[in-house]
Symmetry: C2
């Protein structure tokens, strides 16, 4: 069984852990969002790729969902002592090592896909992890506050401003000129089906789909998604702020409609959203418990997604 | 009183601490050796500048003489887990922050002299610390062992091989095309006298003097040196291996002769080398205890150097 999943950070990574347990024999390729990537302290940081890599490789900080376990923050203190910012983006000492290795390889000319493969040589996540693109794509957010109207890097809005300043627009800068990373279209072409984990539909899955060629290659397959919205609210994170910015209601049904029936064949919603089953316009909607309370519960959700994909495959 | 000192790492830095105590009102400019600088993990490391900065700024690991106090080594472990080398060059977490700040500024286009000044904004070493040059100069060592005859970076010979493989030659690659950093010649021109601390005469002071223009500017001044060789052996480090490589005997007298009377006006040797006083050929040699056992003893040595310079000034 060949599965491709498009993943953002925490929600995607946790879902993938369940997917691996549900389908231990499957050949899983993960296409990771790189729109959140940012350069800080001269180092290239890929939060979503790292969250997937650390989560599946056993290095994640389980409680916070991102960053390394048994982390220390000596460098952070030292950089603050040098008055070098930004202080709002927390990087631990163990995590720094990943960014140092990545930056050194990027500077040496390796594309991000090769760098990610090299990092995974250590973490052995049990999936093939590909960045959506080797080209730089950066999610920017248009905001307006006391400092005026301006576009800021996604991380500045998300982490520094906690997405509390309304986004007037969200765009993936560089996406239109980006090419899918080597292996992305090939993996999609070879896939039996595609899964959209409960990642942010705008700045995670949406950004991946914005790379020319990827949306069409995904749409050509049987696609089953897991709703990140339960009962009108995001399970975690601030997906509602992103959906509002692009004019989509924060509801499981609206997100399915946003993906569109041309892309989305099946959609799992939570039992809290039972009743949506009849509302499909081409997308088959099923309800079941979607809270990823632990790996077993998550594996059950993944199994349901796999089953629905099997049912919907031509 | 305006003093310029040419400094390498540990010996130079410890001497400078004594010099500051001996002459608290003096305007001291330190010209630091950058021939030992090396790029590791994509970061630019300036061991001698940092040792001076940390020692005078209160951040040095007193026991080992280099690196930061209260240091941890999480990054080192993590980089090893990624199988990224070299493992023979020890960098602590606190120290890494310095290299990250430096590299980020260098990559942004700032010259090393400006970067060093920015780092010193934090450390306030109480001297003006200048790199000998903003241009890259790298000390390479020609060795021959089981792997064949080859030139290696100074740090590989010094740290990895502990200078145990005889050096067949030592050269400062890039020195002939290097220019003194901004402020170096001006500081020398304005100096009342120049002090050569007990730094390595070959790979520290010798490398600084190899930058075109510096030797002549130093020689134009009254110059007093402190012998790093006591009783035929280096006080610390492996200066003997460097001296042997360039055909100079490991003795206080031979080092003075190597600097030459055109450069060196006064030379302090240890009481273990008493008797040399009469052997001068233009360089005035005085003996006194030279072991830098603590800051007070070091200040006494520095005071003797200042006194000798006062005596010898035209």
């Amino acid at each position: 069984m060949r599965i491709v999943a498009l993943a953002g950070g925490i929600g995607g990574a946790r879902f993938l852990r369940g997917l691996k347990q549900a389908a231990p024999e499957a050949d899983i390729t993960v296409i990771g969002n790189t729109g959140d990537d940012i350069s800080l302290f001269g180092l290239r940081i890929c939060p979503d790729l790292d969250t997937v890599m650390y989560t599946l490789g056993g290095g994640i900080n389980e409680e916070q969902g991102w960053g390394r376990t048994e982390e220390t923050f000596t460098l952070r203190e030292e950089l603050a002592a040098y008055d070098i910012g930004p202080g709002w983006f927390t990087l631990g000492d163990r995590d720094f090592a990943t960014h140092i290795v990545r930056t050194q390889m990027l500077d040496a000319g390796y594309p991000l896909s090769a760098v990610t493969e090299a990092l995974c040589d250590r973490w052995r996540p049990g999936v093939r992890l590909l960045p959506m693109s080797d080209d730089r794509v950066e999610t920017h957010v248009v905001i307006e506050d006391a400092e005026g109207r301006r576009a800021v890097h996604f991380q500045e809005w998300w982490v520094r401003l906690h997405a509390e300043v309304p986004a007037q627009g969200i765009g993936a800068v560089g996406a239109e000129d980006a090419k899918p990373a080597p292996g992305v279209l090939e993996a999609l072409d070879a896939a039996d089906f595609v899964i959209l984990p409960p990642s942010n539909p705008v700045v995670s899955v949406g950004t991946i789909l914005s790379v020319p060629g990827i949306r069409a290659a995904v749409a050509a397959k049987t696609v089953v998604g897991v709703s990140p919205i339960i009962g009108g609210a995001p399970v975690r994170g601030m997906a509602d702020a992103c959906l509002t910015a692009i004019g989509v209601e924060t509801s499981a049904g609206a997100v399915a409609a946003h993906y569109g029936p041309d892309l989305l064949d099946g959609w799992l919603v939570d039992t809290a959203d039972a009743g949506l089953e009849d509302s499909s316009g081409g997308t088959v909607i099923r309800s079941r418990p979607l809270l990823m309370t632990d790996v077993d519960a998550t594996a059950d959700i993944a199994r349901a997604a796999i089953d629905l994909a099997g049912e919907l495959r031509p």
